[in-house]
């Protein structure tokens, strides 16, 4: 079932051997680990030459404060023509949580990246409008980090 998806991996590797640092094939989904420096180029290549014209979703995940690299950024790509899906993954460390933005490739990435910044504190370099989106602008901390307590540090007041 995933042979078709592996063809895209081969396509990426044929273009640049260093782009796909690790490939995981599990549960019928193919995940390509991409280094932070090449994520923009890989996305551009997949969009323009492999038919992945839509960014279905972009979301972060936290491995926990002890882990290094701590944060995972998932890019779920979809081709509206061939209807295939790929997941790209970028791992970033906590003390250098920066990823180049892909909002210039897909406008839809704008809000997804704002949400990821809001919840995890990962900075998307080059983003046109990196503000908090769901949490209030004066909110302290990043709520979806594993070390952020469920009920917050103190009762939040809107005043």
């Amino acid at each position: 079932m995933t042979e078709k998806l592996h063809a895209y991996v081969d396509q990426i590797r044929a273009r640049n051997e260093a782009w796909a640092t690790n490939v995981v094939d599990a549960l019928g989904e193919v995940t390509i680990e991409v280094s932070r420096d090449s994520i923009y180029e890989v996305c551009q290549f997949l969009r323009d030459e492999a038919g992945f014209d839509m960014l279905a979703d972009l979301c972060g995940a936290d491995n926990g404060p002890e882990e290094d690299p701590r944060f995972v950024i998932n890019y779920h790509l979809l081709g509206t023509g061939h209807k295939d899906r790929l997941r790209l993954q970028v791992l970033v460390a906590e003390d250098d949580a920066h990823v180049p933005t892909v909002s210039s490739l897909w406008s839809t990435a704008n809000w997804h990246e704002r949400e990821t910044w809001d919840m995890f504190g990962v900075v998307f370099d080059g983003h046109p409008d990196l503000r908090r989106i769901l949490l209030p602008s004066d909110f302290d901390g990043h709520a979806l980090r594993k070390d952020y307590p469920l009920r917050g540090y103190e009762p939040y007041s809107l005043n």
Partner: protein
Amino acid sequence: MGVVVDTPAIGSEVRDQPLESEMTLSMGPQHPSTHGVLRLDLRLDGELVINAIPDIGYLHTGMEKLFEYKKYQQGIVITDRMDYLNPLGNNLAYVMAAEKLLGIEIPERALTIRVLFCELQRIASHLVWLGTHCLDIGAMSVFFYCFRQREKILNLIEAASGGRMTPSYFRIGGLMMDLPAGFERRCKQFLDDFPEALDTFDTLVTGNTLWQARTKGIGLISREDAIDWGLTGPCLRGSGVDLDLRRDNPYAGYETYDFNVCVETDGDVWARYLVRMREMAESWKIVRQALERLKPGPIKADAPKVVLPDRDDMRKHMDSLIHHFLIVAEGFDIPAGEVYLPIEASKGELGCYMRANGSAKPDRVHFRGPSFVNLQALPVMSEGEMVADVVAIIGSLDIVLGEIDR
């Protein structure tokens, strides 16, 4: 209302003579036609919209954080409250993600019932859209006709699950319980009545010249822009992209049902209206097929460590009692892994990204809400339109703030 037909002429007159100063108007968050607590920063040149910037987050309740603190089966209840007009669709995305990680097979009858309810729910969701969309634009009576039909669907959902708006009917491994006695008859009664109601909506709205004047050519978005902004569902199909996950990425046995995917090419409010109206008829077709297919059989998967045993079994078998106790007290572990499970909800692609770490609670659950993504394209659609048309465009996007803010 007579001037409405002349709107394009008035618009062009205003466009030719821009005012010297801009005005910023805050619309919402309590504005009735923003469908919840949405605030728009409108930059206006008189009556003309230069830019409309959505401001969201007023309804944020930290659901994605909460998932990480709840056992897998407890998370289903949270999903009900996201898109509260399509709770069964949210249930489905969540339970299917967990089932995919567990690798369990769902029996035929449970799958058929899931499809049946998802399509009933889609009709109900579209009925709320139609009613409120018409209300926004100024046609009041349609709202009451729509809600009368929606009430019948909610009664069906209540009969099966006990809840109208928050059913939590789909469970990991199957369903909460089997359909009650007489459900088929009640459902068939609804199906027999519904085409006539659909005709009523059609007569009330589609041919109405005022309606067409308010919707045709308003809120345009091109095919390329729609893909670039990640639109899905009726908004994408209204811009001429033939993409429906029920057909292109089938799940829950949708590939075995006979239905058409409705596509319009104009990309305006009118096109999105037509797509949703036709989709209701297609959903009606799917519900009918599902109802014909219903055969007696198990509604839960054969996975005793995941699925709650029947009450009757618990009285007779010791191991059932133990399993019940363990599932309720400690939950069940899901092996480490990650999935992204997209389904075609009533508003578009609802994706559930779930990452498991081998324990009874998920490591990360993220919902890609179609309303969240579709709303983002509002500035593109409303640029250069009149303020009153922004209301029509919001209606045509069919957003639910519960899902946007999560």
